[in-house]
């Protein structure tokens, strides 16, 4: 183990070097460009055995990943925002074919207007694509989650995207503990793949046409894969924690136990929220935080157990649902709590779109609104109206 200063981009690229995948097919896009760039230099300096495919688009990046994974290789890629949107069609196919691909995703707003800064509209857009989604609070977690993602993907046979907030994490230097190369290799183990297209002696047809008589069954099996993923994620995290001392769950509860008022966030905002909560607690406010780390599969039960004793909850979405109802996280949190006898009041807050900063003051204000019930149908933090 060594301690270094690295951005999330550098940390994720470092995890990729240590994983040493068979094939990486990727296309650069701000703010994830560095991952591809750094990894290319690993390839050109002979630090990895990886075959790197510098494709001509993200659509081809994911297509090549699918081809390589179907051929039995361990496969990784990286992208952000428009790149992920361009991959959309093939993301579904990667999941439908049950291919264990790992994607390092840097969260960035979707056009239009074009913007290069952080929000979660890109990954929320593909939340139902059959990919496991793990969001990071900081660069250390991004690094750790990428290593765990290999194990998860190859056990569940579903692809995994690990995300980190654009610029806020991707370009901010943080203290990170880097594991030893051998420890990473030992932890991820020998690759496991569902098919081997290169076995010419046992030819298989992969990606056939399913009609009314089989499509449903195959989709059901895929859904079952997602259903079982939570346990795998927790087991892998437990093993990681026991070996390396950093523990992760599907969600993270922060001072929630006796909290009357809670907010729910995803990603780096949790750091700011924790600071604010500490300060508010000192003033005697009973406030807490729930951070959703794994958004797919959606940990509904864990969320319900964590939030059910709160009086009022504000769900902070860094993505607009554009549905005139609420942000995507809000809707699912609300659905997760529905049916509880003493259902807390739940409000939707939208914040941070296009990289707009969220400050401790904003979070304190939000708690105040939640407490006073001074809320609209959808509340916007820090927007000029």
């Amino acid at each position: 183990m060594k301690i270094v200063a690295k951005t999330a981009n550098e940390a994720m690229a470092e995890a990729m070097r240590q994983i040493n995948p068979d094939v990486v097919a990727a296309y650069p896009i701000t703010p994830a460009t560095e991952i591809v760039q750094i990894f290319s230099s690993f390839v050109h300096d002979g630090l990895v055995d990886t075959e790197f495919i510098a494709v001509e688009s993200e659509h081809s990046a994911m297509s090549a990943c699918i081809g390589a994974a179907a051929a039995g290789a361990r496969v990784m890629t990286s992208t952000s925002s428009q790149g992920l949107a361009l991959m959309d069609e093939v993301l579904y196919i990667a999941a439908g074919l049950r291919l264990p691909i790992v994607l390092c995703e840097i969260n960035r707003a979707l056009s239009s207007p074009i913007n290069i800064h952080c929000d979660h509209s890109d990954t929320m857009n593909v939340r139902d694509s059959g990919w496991i989604q793990i969001y990071s609070e900081d660069s250390q977690e991004a690094y750790d989650s990428v290593i765990q993602a290999i194990r998860i993907a190859e056990e569940v046979f579903l692809p995994v995207m690990v995300t980190a907030d654009g610029f806020i994490l991707s370009h901010a230097m943080q203290r990170i503990e880097i594991l030893d190369d051998e420890d990473v290799q030992k932890f991820i183990g020998k690759r496991r793949s569902p098919y081997n297209l290169l076995d010419v002696k046992n030819p298989k047809t992969i990606g056939p046409l399913d009609l009314q008589d089989y499509y449903f069954e195959h989709k059901y099996q895929e859904a079952q894969g997602m259903m079982g993923a939570s346990n795998v994620i927790l087991n892998v995290a437990k093993e990681f924690g026991e070996k390396f001392g950093r523990y992760y769950g599907l969600i993270e509860e922060y001072k929630l136990e006796d909290a009357d008022y809670a907010i729910v966030v995803i990603g780096s905002t949790a750091g700011t929220a924790k600071e604010t909560i500490d300060e508010m607690r000192e003033k005697g406010e009973k406030v807490g935080l729930l951070r959703v780390r794994v958004f797919r599969p959606f940990p509904a039960e864990e969320i319900r157990n964590a939030l059910r004793n709160c009086k009022k909850i504000g769900v902070l979405d860094r993505a607009e649902g554009l549905n005139a109802f609420g942000g995507p996280l809000y809707m699912e949190i609300k659905a997760a709590l529905y049916g509880d006898k003493n259902l807390p009041e739940i409000f939707s807050f939208i914040y941070g779109l296009g990289g707009r900063d969220i400050k401790p003051h904003d979070i304190e204000e939000t708690f105040k609104k939640i407490k006073d019930g001074n809320v609209e149908k959808i509340n916007y933090i820090g927007v000029r109206i």
């Binding site: 068979d22 297509s63 081809g67 051929a71 290789a73 093939v90 290169l198 047809t205 089989y214």
Partner: protein, 309 residues
């Protein structure tokens, strides 16, 4: 050694009967000819389209080689990944065999929606052969125009209407476009000239690097002709200069089949319902223009060949 019928007769079928293609389908004949040449150690990747649909309806498959289908526009990209996985795993000693990699797409998946992925794969230099079966329209969705649809042809999105008599744009010269990627081997073939086609596939697979072939694929449904005339029409396409059989090896053009006597293009056109509307006084100009263009292209090919270009 040249490919002969006696050898072919003994070859194992790798694209097997029982698929659900239409009677008289040109593409299935092409697939058999290609696969008989390529042999067992071949991995096939297919673009969405007629042949993908008819050959792999779960739980059945017509393929006796490993086969992958991902989507419509990305066969070249997906096969790029397969080929690189092969390189990676071979390097590690996990695979011993030499394997051919062949991607197939129709003209929709190749000339149009898949052109970017194809161009990328050609430029990156993967060791694979991309074969386009070119039936000159989106036959899988019901005969819509593509950029391979010939000038004057009727399709359901370029119908022979009262005001606009079919497609009035020239087909894209994809063979030349791919040759401009400086790839080692590009060729055009026709299932009517099976020996020429199979020799080209054989040659392509013997060359390392990206290779590309476009093969004319008559379609009784989309070209509106009786199902027993597929090969006759394919042959006429060659004999009328409509579909020249040539190859570009390391940048040098060579016409591989030069008919001793050419037939008028009307012989090819009049057999097909998609050109029926051209045989009227007011549309005669379309045939004239088509003839002019066919001659210009043929002369150009001859000049390139003579000049050793």
């Amino acid at each position: 050694m040249p490919i002969d019928l006696k050898t072919i007769a003994k070859t194992e079928q790798l694209f097997t009967p029982g698929h659900r293609a239409c009677a008289g389908c040109g593409a299935t004949i092409i697939l058999r000819q290609v696969m008989e040449t390529a042999g067992k150690n071949t991995v096939v990747c297919f673009a969405t389209g007629c042949m993908e649909v008819v050959s792999t309806i779960f739980p059945y498959t017509a393929w006796d080689v490993p086969y992958l289908h991902v989507a419509f526009e990305n066969a070249a990209a997906a096969l790029s990944g397969v080929e690189k996985a092969y390189v990676a795993l071979k390097k590690k000693g996990e695979i011993k065999e030499d394997i051919n990699f062949i991607a197939f797409g129709g003209d929709g998946g190749t000339y149009d929606i898949g052109l970017q992925a194809l161009s990328g794969a050609m430029e990156r230099g993967h060791n694979l052969l991309y074969i386009c079966y070119d039936n000159g329209a989106y036959m899988n969705t019901g005969i819509q125009r593509s950029s391979a649809t010939p000038f004057g042809a009727h399709t359901t999105t370029s119908p022979a209407g009262k005001k606009i008599p079919g497609k009035l744009q020239w087909r894209k010269e994809l063979t030349e476009i791919i040759a401009s990627h400086n790839v080692p081997y590009v060729a055009q073939a026709s299932p009517s000239h099976w020996q020429d086609l199979m020799e080209k596939v054989k040659k392509a697979l013997s060359i390392k690097g990206p290779k590309f072939m476009t093969i004319l694929s008559p379609c009784p449904v989309g070209w509106y002709y009786p199902t027993n005339e597929t090969i006759k029409i394919a042959k006429l396409a060659v004999e009328t200069k409509f579909w020249p059989l040539y190859e570009i090896e390391n940048g040098v053009h060579r016409i591989t089949v030069k008919p001793r006597k050419f037939k008028p293009v009307e012989d090819f056109l009049k057999m097909q319902g998609r050109f029926k509307h051209l045989f009227t006084d007011e549309n005669k100009w379309i045939i004239d223009k088509l003839k002019e263009e066919i001659d210009r292209r043929w002369e150009r090919l001859l000049k390139l060949e003579e000049a050793g270009l």
